[in-house]
């Protein structure tokens, strides 16, 4: 019988090995997927017991904090947002039942103090409980408030302000905003509101035709590829026949042979349309992509809440190989769509001598003992244009503000460089389907000789032009930031 006993033991060993295998599968290999399961409330319940870190504005204003409810084992923490809807975007919300969004979602691990398995074992031995870290952002509360109030006065839209040399996001405002404190009560209503879309961060998810602001990109591609120099003239008639349709200047004005500065100052469509055609697909798309088009912008927000900008075909952004109407892409029309964040990145790159820094909202992580455990190390995303081209482009953009379509953006005593944009969006359902609706834009930076802030401002569904409605918002926000420093 001994032989059978040994075999039986072997069989028992196999059975136990199966147990170890299944346990490993649940506890380690499939653990991440199980934690994502809808039915699994464990991760949320556990997070609720941790004091989630605060989110602070650049000056220390508390944007989000956690308050304790209940006593002893029943103690749990609930999120509070003292500033209400001011930071609804880009901070988002975090609640056990409703989940989380935007900045709260992206920085979740730091906010709950998630650490590596080994350091949490050390914590355990010390008898400590897990505590969340605070995150200090670069958001300027005064400028943020200015941006949101200006938008609320003008209509739906967004403002993004970036410090060109570091990529630090100083303002990200989106109207209509929402009060995160009300999410536990009103999430369904907020989701159902398809006209105002308060949960949509228009700064990163609003895809709008950029209109003439895109001429900055076209000009950059021209300078960078040596298709034009600052003095190169192109004959700009009042009307150009492109793809069987006339492409007009405002009032069909005939400018004759002009160079870049005149063309940009007066936003001459026929000049930039021809430049686009001379550039060809490859050159224009290459520059666009270096500015960040056709990729998800590298900002610290969840990927699914940051949209790509580009020429949208039926299956998403087109590439250089796809046939497009280059003349109209060059002036920001055709199927070109861009987010306010993307256009702020364009302004920021030109302002920073051609170097595009990765836009980031966080600045530093502070642990519960007040030690700074991590600090943003500004990093370069790309260099779309040379310092020389950037300087030439800046000169031309200064003309826009000093004598062109963007005079409303001028700040006394400070040189401002910028570009207006007005894209016609007739029959836009979001605007109520009116025929005179425009998407008004202004992108720019100041001071032009030593840029400290680059801003994109846009307003949906307005009958006004970019220079009339968006340029003043730019000016107010830029002043708030420059005065605050």
């Amino acid at each position: 019988m001994n032989r059978q006993i040994v075999k039986l033991f072997g069989f028992i060993v196999v059975l136990f090995a199966v147990l170890v295998g299944f346990t490993s599968y649940w506890a380690v290999f499939d653990a991440e997927a199980l934690k994502e399961q809808e039915a699994n409330k464990r991760p949320l319940l556990e997070q609720q017991q941790i004091r989630r870190g605060r989110i602070l504005a650049a000056d220390g204003t508390v944007i989000a904090k956690s308050v304790a409810k209940g006593q002893g084992d029943a103690r749990r923490f609930v999120r509070r947002y003292p500033e209400g809807s001011l930071y609804g975007h880009p901070i988002g919300y975090s609640f056990v039942r409703e989940g989380d969004s935007e900045f709260e979602q992206f920085h979740n691990d730091q906010l709950v103090g998630e650490e590596s398995e080994f350091s949490s074992i050390l914590d355990e031995l010390r008898g400590g409980t897990q505590e969340g870290n605070d995150i200090v952002t670069s958001i300027d509360p005064v400028a943020q408030r200015t941006a949101l109030e200006d938008l609320e006065a003008e209509g739906f839209g967004a403002v993004v302000a970036i410090e060109p040399s570091t990529g630090a996001v100083k303002v990200m405002a989106s109207n209509k905003s929402f009060d995160p404190n009300r999410v536990p009560l009103e999430l369904k209503q907020l989701n159902r509101n398809v006209i105002e879309t308060p949960l949509l961060n228009r700064a990163t998810q609003g895809l709008y035709p950029p209109g003439s602001t895109f001429k900055v990109v076209t000009a950059a591609a021209g300078l960078e590829s040596d298709v034009i120099g600052p003095e190169t003239t192109i004959d700009a008639p009042g009307t150009l026949e492109v793809e069987g349709q006339p492409l007009n200047n405002d009032f069909s004005e005939d400018f004759g042979p002009i160079a870049l500065d005149t063309a940009l100052t007066n936003s001459v469509n026929t000049w930039f349309g021809q430049l686009g055609q001379q550039l060809g697909n490859d050159e224009l798309f290459e520059t666009m992509e270096k500015f960040g088009f056709n990729s998800t912008p590298p900002i610290d927000l969840p990927d699914d809440q940051v949209y790509e900008s580009g020429v949208y075909g039926e299956d998403g952004p087109l590439t250089a190989r796809d046939p497009v109407d280059l003349a109209r892409v060059a002036i920001g029309q055709e199927r070109l769509l861009a987010t306010p964040l993307q256009m702020a990145m364009v302004a920021s790159a030109v302002a920073n001598g051609g170097k595009l820094m990765k836009p980031q909202i966080w600045q530093r992580v502070v642990d519960p003992d007040g030690r700074v455990t991590d600090r943003l190390d500004p990093s370069e995303y790309s260099q779309p244009i040379s310092a020389e081209s950037a300087a030439e482009l800046t000169t031309a953009m200064e003309g826009v503000v000093s004598e062109g379509t963007g005079t409303n953006a001028a700040i006394s005593g400070v040189a401002v460089a910028g570009k207006t944009g007005t894209a016609e969006t007739p029959s836009n359902r979001a605007c109520g389907g009116g025929l005179d609706e425009n998407q008004a834009w202004f992108i720019g930076f100041a001071p032009a000789d030593d840029p400290r802030i680059a801003i994109a401002a846009t307003v949906e569904c307005t009958t006004a032009f970019g220079g009339d409605v968006a340029a003043p918002i730019f000016r107010n926000v830029a002043e708030a930031i420059l005065n605050g420093e």
Binding site: L8, I12, V13, L15, L19, W26, A27, A31
Partner: protein
């Protein structure tokens, strides 16, 4: 050379230290009374174990030195886990542990000549069946979660299946010892399959019937599986015919399948096993929460006392039956995959020692009894751990020596006593001059 008993004593010390450390960890987590209470508990535990050890030293000086410390280790681990769930439950469990040791001692005292069991095998078999039947008897039977598992006589409540398994194994060992030759010799080949002789097949059918009976009337899929698996293991060891095992499995599967489709309780258990997500807040809640708790444990676990058992702020269970059925999930949750593997390893070591005893034993009854007891113990651990890890449908069987439950602790100490009785004799014979020590090794 260190004697067997000294080795046992040496092994008990780290167990007591582990228990002390475990309680210290739980106290540190509750951080209300980090005093020397854990040391006192550790000392009590060590004292009780040493008392049992001294008893073994007198009564069974040659018995296997590792089984008792391994079992003490499981008990210590169980006590810490249960204390961490509810300290009043741990007090019960500690009392049962002492009661278990008393029965352990009594078994050793009165069954020194355990062959006497052979004489009463039919009485024992009848007792076993009666015990199984008891939960369905009016007046004393109790229904738990749709299964009839408990008996309550006056203030005394217990789960008879725990004791029944020992009776059935004793009967099978005795019966097979007598009939194994006949079963082997008179087996016939029909259509290329070796069939056991019909005449001796009757008792086998009785066991099969008992298993099916458990499925239908007790609705206890776990015990049914455990009993039948132990039966097949013994049948295989006794006859060496794998075909018998196959026939048995076919019979069990056919029967289980038939009843699964007719008895709603059994049917539900299997449906939940196959698709727990179908009703995640209802019938699938326990198994899903069991698995989620494991997912939360990871490699090293969250630490003693850190896991969530109830939803904070309420009394609603997040891990239902944490002190009994799903205690293994709580172990994975709090001490991680490594801790859980250690627990499985201890069960495997106990199985290894048990089968070693069977190998050393010289007579057929001892061999079969040791095999049967070890197999039923190991399979019980497999059935409940397999249940909470979704290897097999989840059923209400206890995790031996760890789960909260008096019947389980006491019955398993009786099982351990029988194993040590067999071991003492086998090793004594093996060590006698001219014995088989040289051919089979020392331990």
């Amino acid at each position: 050379m260190i004697s067997a008993r000294n080795r046992e004593l040496t092994a008990l010390v780290p167990v007591a230290v582990l228990l002390t450390a475990g309680f210290a960890a739980v106290f540190a987590q509750e951080d209300t009374r980090l005093d020397n209470l854990s040391l006192i508990y550790g000392a009590y535990f060590l004292a009780v174990c040493v008392a049992a050890h001294i008893y073994l030293r007198i009564r069974l000086p040659n018995a296997d030195p590792y089984l008792f410390p391994l079992v003490a280790l499981l008990t210590a681990f169980g006590l810490v886990m249960i204390y961490r769930i509810d300290d009043s439950l741990a007090r019960d469990q500690a009392n049962w542990f002492v009661l278990g040791l008393v029965l352990f001692a009594l078994t050793i005292q009165f069954l020194r000549d355990y062959e006497v069991l052979e004489r009463y095998r039919y009485t024992i078999a009848a007792t076993g069946l009666l015990l199984l039947l008891a939960p369905r008897l009016p007046g004393i039977g109790q229904q738990v979660n749709g299964a009839y598992l408990g008996v309550k006589v006056g203030p005394l409540a217990f789960q008879p299946a725990e004791f029944s398994k020992i009776c059935i194994v004793v009967f099978l060992a005795s019966y097979l010892r007598e009939h194994r030759e006949v079963l082997i010799v008179s087996a016939r080949r029909v259509l290329g399959v070796t069939l056991p002789p019909l005449k001796h097949f009757g008792p086998m059918l009785v066991v099969w019937g008992a298993s099916m009976f458990m499925l239908v009337f007790i609705r206890d899929l776990g015990s049914s599986l455990m009993f039948f698996a132990a039966f097949l293991a013994l049948l295989y060891v006794a006859t060496g015919r794998f075909s018998f095992v196959v026939i048995g499995m076919v019979m069990f599967t056919a029967g289980a399948w038939f009843f699964a489709s007719t008895v709603p309780h059994v049917h539900d258990r299997i449906e939940i096993w196959l698709d727990p997500y179908a009703n995640p807040t209802g019938s699938g809640y326990q198994i899903l929460q069991s698995i989620f708790a494991q997912a939360d444990g990871g490699l090293f676990g969250k630490g003693f006392g850190q896991g969530l058992i109830t939803i904070p702020g309420t009394d609603n269970a997040l891990l239902p039956a944490a002190q009994t059925d799903t205690i293994y999930s709580l172990i994975v949750n709090e001490v991680g995959l490594f801790g859980a593997c250690a627990v499985v390893l201890i069960y495997m070591l106990i199985a290894a020692r048990g089968f070693k005893i069977a190998l050393l034993a010289s007579d057929g009854f001892s061999k079969l009894l040791a095999t049967g007891l070890t197999a039923v113990f190991a399979i019980q651990a497999f059935v409940i751990i397999g249940g909470v890890t979704r290897v097999i449908p989840l059923t209400g069987v206890t995790l031996p020596f760890i789960s909260y439950g008096g019947s389980s602790i006491v019955a398993n100490f009786v099982l351990l006593a029988l194993l040590l009785l067999i071991s003492d004799r086998a090793r004594r014979e093996a060590m006698e001059p001219g014995g088989r020590a040289r051919s089979l090794g020392e331990t």
